[in-house]
Amino acid sequence: MIALLALKSLLVGLVFLGALPLILADYQFLLVGWHSRRRHYAHCRPYLPRITILVPAWNEAAVLGTAIDRLLHLDYPAGRLRIIVVDDASIDGTAAVAAVKVAKHPSRVVHLRREEGGQGKAAALNEGLAQVLADDWSQAALIIDADVILGRRALHALTRHLADPAVGSVTGYIREGSRPDNYLTRFIGYEYIVASAAARRSQNVLGVVACLAGGAQLHSRANIEAIGGRIDTGTLAEDTVTTFQTQLAGHRAIFEPHAAVSAEEPMAIAGLWRQRLRWARGNLQVTGRFRGVWFRPGTPGGLGGISFGLIWFSLLLLPMFMLCASASLVTLYFIDYQLALTAFHVLWLTSVLTFLFITSFALLIDPPVGRRTWREALLFPGLVNVLIMATAVVPAVLTLAGGWERGILLFTYVWLAACMAVAYLGKLAEPRWAGRITGPLFVYVAGYGPLLCAIACAAYLKELRHADARWEKTEKTGKAVSPV
């Protein structure tokens, strides 16, 4: 009897553990409201350092020429800006495009050609950083991707924070910018409001930033020197490692939401899968690499803070929480039907309230993107999960099911985990017959969020198997448009 009671308590505890990431998400969004009181603007000054922009380029011929032209025309004093293109042994026309730009702007554009490429972005960046530190000209370095487009005044918005010597690096707000867009880029557009515009604001409030966006991060020269003048090449998340190193070196990392940067994102599940698998594996590697900092409040830069640790691990382990909650509900269903039902209601009511709060707030944080992506925002958890949330709010709906009520409940308990597998089917369906219809259908029904969780599961497995950590670059075609 006592053993059964202990088992039931454990199972209910595991179900409620599934609510932890939701509660932490609410906490982060509440902190966003606090951003107006904990912003860094009081320490900003007009500051225009000499900046070297590093553009790592591996087969970027399609976007490089336009990217360089745009950078040269940024609203920033021409004599204070130079560009280094690190051509990572490209085999397309990248070298030719770079050579044309160097010939046209010999004092402002430098072309560094690596003869051995494909070792990842960090390896290419290190060639550029060596050049930055080789003379005294650069007071700061901006690391960007070849496809990103900075807003006209974005550099000003970033550099003003470096006027405070305590700040080592600053990142901007990366917006999804592909035009014409499709269903997937709209999901990504909404995701970036949540993961960038909102989450990074909350990190500003906490005083610790998890990741400076690799597509646009500005470092002071002092910070580059403090982190050893090099970018880590040992993980797939070089931007996160740099962010951690910056803060461990005693410098602040800042997110500037008003430095708008536009980036091209994958338009197919296969491309998204490759990109996010790299990010998810990178985050797992970073977790292990910095295992000495978690939940140690004395760690420099706030990285050891309890809140920060909880947020980091709740995202990293989100698929595990979902699997545990699902398995626990199914077990409870068979040993104590009523208890399972109560636990289900608590979990899903938490989901509903979190979903309502986060979705409505996120759409208001960036209204232009919100207007374009509100449908994807509503279906972010997937159509089935939205219907389940509706039954949690209006339980009477279940009585309409008559004798099917128990079967439907069991389905909802299983679906919490199964939605990830169904979302994965979207990836399998996409290249097959009618994949242009079935691929998106699986994502809308099972959810974009569960698709990301499925990718995280794939990352767990790859890391457990110590699979080859190759740098699989996202293909860019120059579809991004200016953020302003």
Partner: protein
């Protein structure tokens, strides 16, 4: 007075004015987020009330 400044000083003063305007805009936007958070919370409160009073 601005007309008597040399080009570098004029550029600096323009830059300072633009900086002030941008900071003011950014701060106003960030303060507006508090209102937006309250709107979102009000929506949540409405659903909780409806659930407790009518839909339980």
């Amino acid at each position: 007075m601005t007309g008597h400044l040399d080009p570098a000083a004029r550029e600096e003063s323009t830059e300072a004015a633009e900086f002030d305007a941008e900071i003011k805009d950014a701060v106003r936007y960030e303060k507006g987020l508090v209102v937006k958070a309250l709107i979102a919370l009000a929506l949540v409160a409405l659903v909780v009330l409806a659930r407790l009073l009518y839909l339980a």
